[in-house]
């Protein structure tokens, strides 16, 4: 294994949200106070990661319209909400597609309620909606999900904080160094600029990387709208010269 010739572009910690971001109150007691210890030179432990091509997925794992329906045998029961296709490409910082990588997502239903035993929000569960999906990117790094647009919901932070509609997105990439969990927001949502979690980012350009864009060309007439959400993971570099 020639891992030692490989490295990843440094993660820009000023681009990502800081650990301590007091406007998002839960960070206050959960943020380390000590500096991160830099590895300086990554080893095989950091340069490798899991490959999920042999993980057996269900036929509807990426189709949230169908993967929790109450009565699949009868072909009945669809979730309430705006039907959407969420799709995009996983590429690295040099624009190179990341093929066969695991993309997972989870979300609230159209009323803003999660199917989770701790979510007690007033809005009801949808009997036909689970809110979880997973898929592998194809050869060119593309992934696709079909789902409904999640609703906004209130949460205890400021006296009246609301989360914008969002889908949680998790991507592995080629190594544990590229591991990333983010959230996709919906273009034009007026709650985005009000959200304390969005505000953990200091750079407005960084917020733009989390906006799913309405794509009319990929929408299906008389069926569903499409939102495109490309993911960029850390770029892989090769070392061409010996270390002496």
């Amino acid at each position: 294994m020639q891992d030692h010739n490989k490295r990843f572009v440094e993660r820009d910690r000023n681009w990502h949200p800081p650990a301590y971001a007091p406007g998002y109150k839960t960070t206050v007691a959960r943020s380390p106070q000590q500096a991160l210890v830099s590895m300086q030179q990554a080893s095989t432990s950091e340069l490798t990661g899991p490959d999920f091509r042999h993980l057996r997925m269900g036929s509807h794992d990426n189709d949230l319209l169908l993967n929790f329906r109450q009565d699949p045998a009868q072909g009945q029961g669809l979730p309430v909400g705006e039907r959407i296709i969420m799709f995009g490409r996983v590429v690295d910082q040099f624009g190179k597609p990341v093929p066969h990588t695991l993309v997972e997502m989870w979300q609230a239903n159209a009323g803003g309620r999660y199917r989770h035993k701790n979510d007690r929000y007033l809005a009801p569960l949808d009997p036909n909606f689970g809110g979880v999906g997973r898929t592998l990117t194809d050869e060119q790094g593309w992934y696709h999900f079909r789902t409904i647009k999640p609703g906004p919901y209130p949460w205890p932070n400021d006296p009246n904080s609301w989360r914008p509609s969002h889908i949680h997105v998790s991507v592995m990439g080629p190594s544990i160094s590229t591991r990333l969990i983010t959230q996709m927001y919906f273009e034009g949502d007026p709650l985005i600029p009000l959200c304390p979690i969005v505000h953990t980012l200091k750079d407005a350009d960084a917020v733009e990387t989390m906006i799913g864009r309405l794509d009319m060309a990929r929408s299906k007439p008389m069926d569903c709208l499409a939102y495109r959400f490309d993911l960029v993971v850390r770029g892989e570099l090769q070392t061409y010269f010996e270390n002496q």
Binding site: R11, R30, T44, S45, T48, R115, H116, S177, T200, V207
Partner: protein
């Protein structure tokens, strides 16, 4: 198309998508049973080693504790480790006796412990040629954690290897190195290692950037 050599090199590169917290309901997406939901045929979870896997079978457990000393009950963790021979097995396949990757979560019940069923990893070489002490790489995700935290778990009974490990030695404070050393326990004849992860304050766990 841009004319070559006319813009700073950094502008020719894309920025990484920004990180956001995994939130309080991470379980519905990545730890379905912990959310109280039905699981799919194949889930990525905490049984990294089946009984037939080669090596010393161990359980690794711990809690996650916040800056107030309270349990973090909604943490989600990912583990990445070498097999007993010191080789990473990247190909994740539930049919194999051992997988290098695993997932676990703290729980909403009393003890709120995460746990991994695995084998003790062998040594892996550092690029400088020295062996690194046996370790498990851990990533911690939770509500209130904006970018996942990365740490390593080492083993108490590997004192000599730990003393020589080039990564542990990167930690300037010897006191802080101790925050990564899991304590060996034996419960009903089974070997168990415990590492409580402290996110903040006294005894704060060392977290790495790489």
């Amino acid at each position: 198309m841009k004319q070559p050599n006319t813009v700073p090199a950094s502008e020719l590169m894309l920025r990484e998508t920004a990180s956001q917290t995994a939130g309080p309901y991470v379980h519905i997406g990545l730890a379905l049973a912990a959310a109280g939901n039905p699981t799919r045929d194949e889930e990525i979870w905490n049984e990294m080693a089946k009984p037939e896997a080669e090596g010393e079978h161990i359980e690794v457990v711990g809690t996650v504790i916040d800056g107030n000393g309270d349990l973090v009950r909604d943490a989600f963790l990912e583990a990445w480790q070498a097999d007993a021979n010191g080789a990473y097995q990247p190909e994740y396949d539930l049919k194999k006796p051992f997988n290098s990757f695993g997932r676990t979560a703290t729980t909403f019940d009393h003890g709120s412990e995460w746990s991994l069923k695995t084998v003790k990893p062998g040594q892996v070489a550092h690029p400088n040629g020295q062996p690194m002490a046996p370790h498990i790489n851990l990533a911690i995700f939770a509500r209130g954690v904006n970018v996942h935290l990365q740490t390593r778990l080492y083993f108490e009974d590997e004192a000599d290897a730990n003393a020589e490990c080039p990564v542990l030695s990167r930690i300037e404070s010897p006191t802080r190195r101790q925050t990564l050393i899991a304590k060996r326990e034996e419960i009903d004849g089974k070997v168990c290692y415990r590492l409580d992860i402290k996110l903040q304050g006294e005894g704060e766990t060392v977290f790495f950037d790489f």
